[in-house]
Each structure stands twice: as C-alpha cells, then as structure tokens.
Point group: C2
Chain length 483, copies 2
C-alpha cells in the first residue's frame, strides 16, 4: 500500500470516539485524506490518555531523538522506509518528540480586522461609536484580502487549520483562504445600514447569495450567510435569511445574546433574545450562534431543542467585561460547542492556544467547580467540537481514516512544554502558539518547520502595516470627533 | 560621560511616574544601574502613551530597520557611536523595531515544582490528597535546584527578571537564582507537619531564619519567611513568625483566603480568614499575601489599613474553579497589587504574558465593567506594582535613572504583535512569551537573542526530565492508592 506522506514517531492524539492515543504512532496520508493511523512497531502505546499510561511514556517521548531512532527517519524518500503500519510513503516526516493532533477549528472570526488591532481599547460603546465608523471609511476589498491573509498566517503558525469568518467583501476572505490552502467558512455580513460593501441596508443578502454560489464545490472554502446580530437585522429579514439558507443549503452565522443593550431590548417583550429569535425561524441546526452570553435555563433548553451550534469566544467576551457564557451547560444540554477567538480587535491574538486554556478556567469559575471541563473536554471543543459546530465533523476534527488530513505537529522540546505528565493537560494548559512546528491542511503543509508555504512573510507584514498606517490617522480624527 | 551598555532605538515604555514613552529612545546602563533614559535625536517622542501619539509612530517603529538607521547600530563598540543622550557606550544594543520595558516581576511562585507539571489535573482535593504526599517522597535538594533552574529558564525566556518564591529546601532556589543572575525573594516554607525538608512540624521556622541570614547582603537574592497558610500554621506560630520577621527585617509570604475550607473554618469564629489573621499580628506591610479570594468589603478595608501587599494569581485561581479575587478593589482601597503565575502545577506555564492578559479580563468579568483595569493598569501590576509588593520599588519596576537595569526587549516583528496602535494594549494583549528577544538583570543579559547566558539549555531539559521521569512512577502508585 502506497501513500503520499507518513507523519512518523510522534504521540498521536487522535480525538476519535475512543480517544485512541498512539505513543509513538504514525499517520499515513494519501490524496489529502488520512488512510492509516496507529502505533509504530515495538514501541508502547498509551491506552486512552489517562494519566497512568502517558505518564510512563512521557519522559521517553520528550527525550525524543534519544529513543530508538531508525536509520532514515527524515523527509527523504529513499532507502528502506520506517514502519508506517505497512504503508510505503513517498515522504516520511520525522515527528519524534512531538504531539500530532487535529488542527484547531476556530469557529468565530473577523480576520480582516487585523490592521486595526489594539486600537482604542477599553472605550465605552466601542462597537457603535468607533468600530462601525472606522470600518465605513477604511474597509475596501484590498484591506479585506491583505488583512485576511495576514491573520491566516498568524492562525496557521498557531496550528489552526479551519476557521469560520464573517465580514464585508467576504469573497476576499475566501480568496485569501483558497490561496493559503486552509479550510474556511466565509460569511457575508448583513446589516440594516449601508455597510462598507453596500450602498443600502440589507444589500448583504444578495451579496451572501452570490458568495454561497461562487464557492459552491470548492474543496476548502464554503460560503455562508451572516446576519450581524438581532439588533442590526430585523425579524422580517431574519425570516428571509432563514428561507434563503434553506434554499441554498447554507449555514448561517450570527452574534447572539452578546450585548447588554440587546439583552434588555428583546427581554422586555419576549423574555430573552433567544425566545425572540425563535419567532423568526432562524434557530435551526444551520445556525452557528456566536457568544450566547445572556441566557437563562429556558434559553439553554431552547438552543438544544432547536439544534443550534455554539461558537464560544471566552477571551473576547471577558475582555469586554461581559458575563461568562454558560457554554458548559449548553454542551450538557446537547448543543455542539466549539471555540473561537473572535476578531483581532476583540481577542487580539488569533491563536487558539490562548482560548482553549481560557475555556475550562472560565467555566470552572462560572460554576464554582473544578471538576468540569477537563483538559480533554477543552481539546474536544477546539477540534472535533468545532468541526461539529461548522457541520464539518464528517470531514475533519479528528485523526481517523477517511477524514481529511488537517493536522498540527507540536514540538515538545521547550521550556514551557516539558514535562508532559498528561498529554491533554499539556495540549490545553502548556502549549503556546510558537510550539507548533508544522501545520497541514488536506494533506499539504501550509507551514513546515515554522516557515509558511503560501506567502512571503515579509510581504504579508508590509501589506498589513500599509493598511494599519492608513488607519492610524483616521483613528486619531475619530478620537478628536468623539471628544 | 561613559556607560557600559546603550539599548538604542526601541520604543521605551518607562513606567515612570509620568508614564514617559520614548519612541524611539535609549537606555544607558553603567555598573548595572540605569544612568540615562530618553528620546534619541531628531525622532519623535510619544507624549504619554495615549493612543494619539504612539499610533502615529507605531507603523514607523514596527517597520523598524527601514527607519533612519545609523551607520553602526550594532553590538560593536568601534566607530562613531549612535546618539545615546550624550553617553558613550562600550556596547550598543540595536533595539529598533522592539519595545523596551521593565522586566516582569512575578510575585508568587513555587518554581521547583516543574518536574510535576501537568500531573493529575482536575482532581478533587488535589493539594492534600496528591501534592503533599508526592512532595513528601520526591522533594530533595537536587530536585529543588534543578527544578528551579529549569523554571528560571522559562521565566527569563518570557521576560521575567524578578520572582518571589516559596518552597522547601529554599536555599537551593536561592542558589539557582544566584547562578542564573536573576533577582529573587526566596521563602522557606513553614508547615505544621513534617515537611520534605523537616523531621518535625515547624522546623521551617529555624530554616527560614538561617535562610534570611545566609543571603543577607547578596546583590540579587534575599531570604524571606513563608508560613504556608492559615490552615497549616497555627496562631501561636504566626505570632512567633511575625516577631521573627521584625527581628530579621524580613518579608513574609503566605497563601491567604485561597481555599473554600479555609474560608469556612475561620469565618465561623472570626467572620473571615483575614479578621482571624489580624488577631495574630501577621498582617503588616511585611506581608505578601498570595491569592486573597474570599474577602468581603471589611476585609478589603482591613488589608489596606494594615498595609499588606497582594500577589494576585488569576490563572491559577481560575483553573481551580475559585472565585475571582477582588484585586481591583484591593488596589482601589490602596493595597499594592502585583501579579503571579503561582507554581507550574497550578498555572502550568510560568510566563507573565498569560497572566497580565488574564488579569484585566477577569476583573472586568467580576465587576461587569469594561472600563476598569486598562491595559496600562495591567502592565503596572506586572512591573512596578509587583516591585512595590516585594518592597523593591526603590530598586526596580520602572526604567528610571538610579534604578537597576532589569529590562526586557521585545521583538515586534511577528504575526501576533503587528500592528501596535497602542503600546500598552500591545504589551498586555498581544505579546506572547516567544516575542521576548533579550532579558537583562542588573545590567547583564541573562538571555540575548533568545539564547540563555547562564546554562546549557539541553542540560537543563535533561535534568528536568530525569526528575519528571522519577516522579511519574510515583504518581502512578499514588493514583493506585487513591482508588
């Protein structure tokens, strides 16, 4: 049996149904798809990730190269191949001393906002008084594309292989994702005012329809429909969007129950934001609901009953001083829960390591219990759970034969990563963005040995700074107006 | 005027009383002490860090090398020196494209616990049922020294220049800090049981006294006294410790109001943990109180009145599912507030970047307000505030003439750091451990271009893994006993 690539010798956290853990193990890839996964010959195999087994193999694995290295574990194809479960690989990638796990799935982003990152933090009514006016004047197709490609670089460098985005000129985000070779759901934003890419309210609906059609059939990029929020899209248009989503067979992403004023407004008449939305038909398994902060028990039940999926953004929400989302309770009720960074103006860094570590911490604080959202639960949310939220769990989210080869390879040989008594604890609480060595999407490396494959890094930074520089003058004048 | 080193061309966040910001600027160092700070010739100078001024210089600064580079901005001493405020430097360090700011002060650690990192997360009664028995059997001087030196490497690599520690065989932590050349308060732990370094309860008191005397007069390391907690040191011994601290002129560090059972026990008779402690005389300006979670308004007032200092550890507390400390309220009441990672079993990574970003987020969540603990406030807590907590604010915590040259130089040329519309936002919300390029303590580089100066990195890792490997068998048997 022949395959294209064998990722060989790392500790493989499969995140499959049994949480199989191969230590050391291999992953065989052919035509972008995982064709084989397992332990490699002779060496021990940790049973299921509980402390006992991995603890013993930990020191061996982190000693890495000191352990039973074969003659030709390299990226070369010649000579007798190392054991890869019977697969003959054209390329063998030496992964000794690493964790091999599914790439992160970032379920809620606005990646083109990178030129504005860090501007006007901590200001009151930041969204309406500062961000909307800034976007109206600055957001053009070129900025959306350059901003997106820059952030994709940041995401790929931190192990993210798939993201779900919403913004304006969203076709440019699709183009950036396609160029980079990463997986994406790209959502055109719909609002009740003249957006940066629209001359009239709700033009986004027509743009979203075109976007979904434009990307239909693309192997990595898919268009979705993104009504901004309950307070910027009215009930009538939400009904139309629900129908359109059905017609197009497309997903819908929306900010829900994120803002205090939104909560106050819809609670008055309907009891809650979610119960209001239920009158519009938008609550369905097609819906990716970002944030979901102001919810009571009836809302949690309603979310689960309607089958909506949750994009939980703990870092962004906390930075805005908002209540902690009942994400754990939503999951317990049966809703799919994934994690997201939100945009660079909200969460600042776009790495999932920060978010996956914050998620259990904040849920434990919210519930006053340390025994919920284990490290393994958190890693599920950042991988397989996120895939389920995006409706891609048949394709990605775990390392199993038949799934796309969307992987990250994490170098454990650093001062923040050693030792790894428990693989899941290490993956959730110790790893940082810079520990990711390689990132693979659909069997192709988008980053290898920390070098991007899809763009010149200096050029990406230069383009980002061009837009950031142009924004900075405008930021000052907006500030002056606000005084 | 001659000096040893000029750090030249970076954006200098001084954190002085006026928050002077020199962009670009220089820092001149002689005999380990800062002798000059200012803007460099011709270039603009950001006034005070508000968005307006730095926003304009941001793109220039992050373009770095493209801007007005002089002929010889290098580490070489020859040729005509670049402008350094009139100082002639033997060595000029090119800091263009970087932020130069005070090193982080980590106010609460147990750095020798690194061999145990990640073990038995999320377990009930982890401290008493797992950590204490593990320590009793594993903690020996060699492990304390090796574990400490490893963690010092992690801390130095993330810009920390000073830490306050408490553990057993604490003289070994002092030796590790002295070897590395970093600043440290080292606290011998006192408990009411036979500790790993004691054959009888309270032997730690005599050990602590010896420790304080042993390090008296050392330029970087100072001994302190560390009663473990109100539930492991009784009132009588707390009184004796308060007297000893007075006699030795030493600081005291203790875990306070961290545990639910502690809160319940002391509240019953005294109303609160802090009001109980006030009966023992331990509440004084000598006291560094770690955690401080279960506090009511009267406790906050009492803490401020007694002048005790707060070592706030938001990451560690959240991971344990505990209430968020009223750290902002303590600061408003007048108590000095610094930040800490806690030990590697509690916060896992020992970098301050994670903690300084978490601090404002959790305080905003706790208070339900986004307009408190600004990015600048957070950076104060991680530098100058921490220095004040440790009683070292006359010496460190800001970049001012007369203070020790404890600095970090942060490379901004990365995908998580660009752009920097606001320097304080960038420093608090965007920076990650790997962005730190150089770390200097008392005028000497302990890390330069990400390479440690004080030890061989491979050797440090090897020693750490030796102890981790020895622990792992024991962890398994402790688990088996617990079943």
């Amino acid at each position: 049996m022949e395959c294209d690539v064998c990722v060989w010798g790392g500790t493989v956290l499969t995140m499959d149904g049994q949480f199989s853990l191969h230590d050391p193990g291999y992953v065989a890839v052919r035509d972008g798809v995982i064709v084989g996964v397992g332990a490699i010959g002779g060496a021990g195999m940790g049973a299921d990730g509980r402390l006992g087994a991995p603890a013993r193999s930990r020191a061996d694995a982190t000693h890495g190269a000191a352990r039973g290295a074969p003659g030709n574990a390299s990226s070369s194809a010649s000579g007798s191949a190392p054991d890869c479960g019977g697969w003959r690989a054209r390329e063998t990638v030496d992964a000794r001393g690493t964790i091999v796990m599914p790439g992160y799935v970032n379920t809620h982003t606005h990646i083109s906002m990178s030129p504005f990152r860090g501007a006007k933090e901590d200001s009151k009514d930041r969204l309406t008084r500062f961000i909307f006016p800034l976007e109206k004047r600055m957001v053009r197709p070129e900025l959306v594309y350059d901003g997106a490609l820059f952030t994709i670089a940041e995401m790929v460098r931190s192990g993210t292989t798939c993201f779900a985005d919403m913004y304006y000129f969203e076709e440019e985000v699709g183009r950036a994702a396609a160029r980079a070779g990463v997986r994406a759901l790209v959502g055109e934003t719909i609002v009740d005012f003249a957006a940066p890419d629209a001359t009239a309210p709700y033009e986004g609906i027509a743009r979203a329809e075109r976007l979904v059609e434009e990307w239909r059939g693309h192997p990595l990029v898919r268009g979705i429909i993104a009504p901004h929020a309950p307070y910027t899209v009215d009930a009538e248009h939400l009904r139309a969007i629900a129908d359109l989503a059905e017609k197009l067979d497309a997903a819908v992403m929306m900010h829900i129950a994120e803002m205090d004023f939104e909560h106050a407004r819809f609670s008055a008449e309907h009891g809650s934001v979610l119960r209001y939305l239920d009158t519009t038909g938008i609550l369905s398994p097609r819906l990716i609901a970002a944030h979901m902060l102001y919810l009571d028990d009836a809302d949690i039940e309603l979310a689960a009953t309607r089958g909506i999926a949750i994009a939980h953004c703990p870092g962004s929400n906390a930075k805005s001083g908002r209540p902690i989302s009942p994400a754990w309770r939503l999951g317990e009720a049966g809703a799919p829960v994934g994690l997201g960074t939100d945009g660079p103006l909200s969460g600042n860094t776009m790495d999932m390591q920060t978010v996956v570590s914050l998620y259990p911490k904040l849920q434990k604080v919210r519930e006053g219990r340390r025994d919920l959202v284990s490290a393994r639960d958190a890693l599920i949310a950042a991988t397989k759970g996120g895939a389920r939220v995006l409706g891609l769990d048949g394709q990605i989210g775990s390392i199993e034969p038949g799934k796309a080869a969307d992987l990250q390879i994490i170098d454990l040989d650093d001062f923040n990563t050693l030792p790894a008594h428990d693989w899941y604890s290490a993956a959730v609480y110790s790893l940082q963005a810079h520990n990711v060595r390689d990132t693979m999407v659909a069997g192709s490396f988008v980053m290898r040995n920390r070098k991007l494959r899809f763009a010149d890094e200096a050029e990406l930074k230069k383009r980002l700074l061009f837009h950031a520089h142009q924004s900075s003058g405008l930021i000052e004048s907006l500030l002056a107006e606000g005084r």
